[in-house]
Symmetry: C2
Subunit: 217 residues, 2 copies
DNA sequence: GAACGATGTTCTCGACCAGAGAACGAAAGA
DNA sequence: TCTTTCGTTCTCTGGTCGAGAACATCGTTC
């Protein structure tokens, strides 16, 4: 990483590892998962503990999330609380189309799934909350890219190789801009289809996407 | 700080500064508030931005919280989601006693107010969510201390000076243990009275306190 | 009960990174 | 236009973060 603060990125990795762990998780498990030294993980957990971002079970000395996150989440101004704003429309849309709805937000290295509203059916479609979808090969990613400022999109795409692929991608992006939404078939997972539309904030920046996800008919 | 990761602590300071800022906040404002160099703040914001913890208004290039926090908060296991569990009982209690209810959680350097349920009245009692109450001089702090393991409480208290004060404090702590709750008059703010009771998690560790806060009769 | 393996925690030391401060560019106000 | 203020970039140096080993403490196994 040639920008930003390295050790903080590590700390956030650790925090997210704890967050996504199915239950309490210990120092060694985190260390092997992230490929770090135990001592480093331990020291990072100290600060996170100190600041209330994680809690420690003193019996097992394993870690889980603390309340601080909820406190901070609560502090996001209501007017730009994407999650809260999306909740109603998402379940309405799910009831209307009878398919799974997926909400995702823009991050630098991809599109992060932040919420799902799963249709009532025996067949659950498996997009897990927290997953990171690629920009170049997901309906959500491409929809967001299409509505970002030119240079920002280019910057996010400079890892995409291949002239031919880029041409195809650019055609899709302009189609997304033209029709306001984009479909994609089986890119994230074979047999799974998605239709995505962009979400803008108060200042008209594209900050995420909402998608209907279903199986091939 | 003789433990933990320094730069991460700074990053969290910045994150919390953004969180508690009434609206969008810029690099310089954060830097002066925390007494750091602008360049350092800027670099930290890069990582936080990269990871989705903050968002950047590209018009003003000021910062506010991102969606990542809400995603993580959502991931805390329901069974130990203090905030969600407390919501119902808090408003019940408020309606019953007709006073403001305050929920707080244990942190290393004090007791953090994580939620309030304000009674309907023209006179709002001012405990702001996010404030850090001292261990030694708040009903909440002392109640939590009283129900912590001995050595942990001692460690948190080693900054408290004065033989006489310590004796008085210890008497209050044992009273809190004996009667299960503790009152305190005007310690946090003159004229404001509080009664606090401890909250335990599934493994019987004291993780927070709930308090009724009101004015002197 | 001794030997073992796995865990969390502490320690030391060197490479390297984070932070201070200055400098730049741009935007806003006077 | 001049001035001020802000965000961003640059450079250099001291401090600090990470690897690895050592220690402590568990359960487990024989």
């Amino acid at each position: 990483m040639d920008f930003g603060v390295r050790s903080t990125a590590v700390a956030l990795d650790i925090l997210e590892t704890v967050a996504f762990a199915p239950k309490e998780i210990g120092v060694s498990a985190i260390a092997t998962e992230l490929g770090l030294a135990k001592s480093a993980v331990f020291r990072h957990l100290q600060t996170l503990l100190d600041r209330g971002y994680v809690r420690r079970n003193s019996a097992t000395s394993r870690y889980r999330l603390g309340v601080k996150l909820q406190l901070l989440a609560q502090l996001t101004a209501d007017e730009d609380n994407l999650l809260a704003a999306a909740e109603g429309p998402m379940s309405d849309l799910r009831d209307e189309v009878g398919e799974t709805i997926v909400l995702s937000a823009l991050e630098r290295s991809g599109v992060r799934v932040v919420a799902t509203s799963i249709r009532n059916s025996m067949l659950e479609i498996g997009v897990r909350v927290g997953s990171l979808l690629p920009f170049a090969s997901s309906a959500q990613g491409k929809t967001i890219l299409a509505h970002l400022p030119r240079e920002m999109a280019d910057q996010l795409l400079d890892s995409v190789q291949g002239e031919k692929i880029l041409r195809k991608l650019n055609r899709e992006l302009s189609r997304a801009r033209r029709q306001g939404w984009l479909e994609s078939a089986g890119e994230v997972m074979p047999g799974v289809n998605a239709i995505a539309a962009p979400i803008f904030d108060a200042s008209d920046s594209c900050i995420g996407a909402i998608a209907v996800v279903g199986l091939f008919a």
